[in-house]
Amino acid sequence: MKRRKFITWLSVGWLAFAGATGGFFTMIIRFLFPNVLFEPPQSFKVGFPSDFQLNQVDERFKQSQAVWLVRTAEGMYALSTVCTHLGCTPNWLITDNKFKCPCHGSGFRKSGINFEGPAPRPLERYRIVLAEDGQVLVDKSVKFQYEKGQWDSPEAFLTT
């Protein structure tokens, strides 16, 4: 075998080896990201607007979906139950009229605006619209942040 041919085959061999190794590492990384999640669906119906009492924080979907639903005279909004400090779940204190996080004491108004403790920004709101059958549909895959001016978006607040 000529020297030139030998070096050609040697580089082909090394390139194939590098490609195969890279492919295997890519497969290992991809393997860590599951295709199917056995978690609750991101969008769900919560019932008709009339099912919700005026000016009350509805906690029925806190456990299963991590969402609070609030109905005011103007309409409804869906608040995330994830504290914007470090991700714990605050409690709705009906007598104090505020959300209070047990981890580090962050406090939020009924609107979701933060006013005490270490939380740097208000609670997030989720997309809330009326489904075709007239029920309220909450979609957690779309979130609206107050500090980005997103609460003015039509889908952040359901006018009823």
Binding site: I29, L32, P34, L37, E39, G87, C88, C103
Partner: protein, 263 residues
């Protein structure tokens, strides 16, 4: 008469083929034989053949490196024993931990593992402190210091992954909070700096379901996937890496001139 018989028995064991096939050097009498005895044992050869007198002084080393290793062995043995009773599933994890203190014989293995883990973190920190204060990180030992920093990091990760396994409220929320920090990883976390740059048109490549936190938890929040992943990392992945680094670390202590000398 009895003495003579005993010597004869020992001598015949020492002369047997089984003994000689395991211990090739025989009873060490000379310095060379002692050295060969250490060199020919896989367990002893990680250790220096000879130690300077100052190296065994407790007030210089505090024995913290040795204690860290001892605690690692305690944690390995007690951890393997715990694995016989603990099932890393949402259904069983918490009750298995309860059973470990209430139903399992002696009921103390879990406490040994837990207190040993706390002690190891403390011992590793004190070891780092001693090495720093005695200037033992300086050349030619700078590589071994770097290995030690990685092992400190792995010790803390072992502590962090073990924290989730009891599956009580403290564990779940501590890991929720801890894992949320991974959101802010540059480029790899979906809320981190640079993550929004990695996008094709409207599609974010680094999102809630494709970032480093998702890979760590195996889901969007701390659930079944996270428990299993942390269990595997805690019992197999991280101990495997730290064991290799410990072999390098001990070997390099000797190759870099042994334990540093007080000036």
């Amino acid at each position: 008469m009895a003495d003579k018989k005993k010597t004869g028995l020992l001598a015949s064991i020492g002369d047997s083929q089984i003994w000689k096939s395991i211990f090739r050097t025989g009873v060490p009498v000379t310095r060379r034989q002692r050295m060969m005895g250490v060199l020919n044992s896989v367990f002893l050869h990680l250790h220096p053949v000879r130690l300077p007198k100052h190296a065994v002084k407790l007030k210089y080393t505090w024995c913290m490196g040795g204690l860290s290793f001892f605690l690692f062995l305690v944690l390995t043995i007690s951890g393997i024993l715990l694995m016989f009773y603990y099932r890393p599933t949402v259904e069983y994890a918490y009750t298995d931990i309860m059973d470990l203190s209430e139903q399992v014989p002696l009921g103390i293995m879990r406490e040994i593992h837990r207190w040993g883990a706390h002690a190891m973190v403390i011992a590793v920190w004190l070891h780092m402190f001693r090495v720093f204060m005695t200037g033992s990180y300086k050349p030619p030992r700078e590589f071994n210091w770097a290995v030690g920093v990685i092992m400190l990091f792995l010790t803390l990760l072992l502590s962090f992954t073990g924290y989730l396994l009891p599956w009580d409220q403290l564990a779940i929320w501590a890991i929720t909070v801890g894992a949320n920090m991974a959101r802010a990883t540059p480029f790899l976390g979906h809320e981190g700096p640079g993550a929004s740059l990695l996008a094709i048109g409207d599609i974010n490549l680094v999102s809630m379901t494709s970032d480093i936190r998702f890979a760590l938890l195996g889901g969007r929040f701390v659930g079944e996937g996270a428990l299993l992943r942390f269990y595997v990392l805690h019992c197999v992945g991280l101990p495997f890496i730290i064991a290799i680094l410990m072999a390098v670390h001990f070997w390099r202590v000797r190759k870099d001139g042994g334990i540093s000398t007080p000036v």
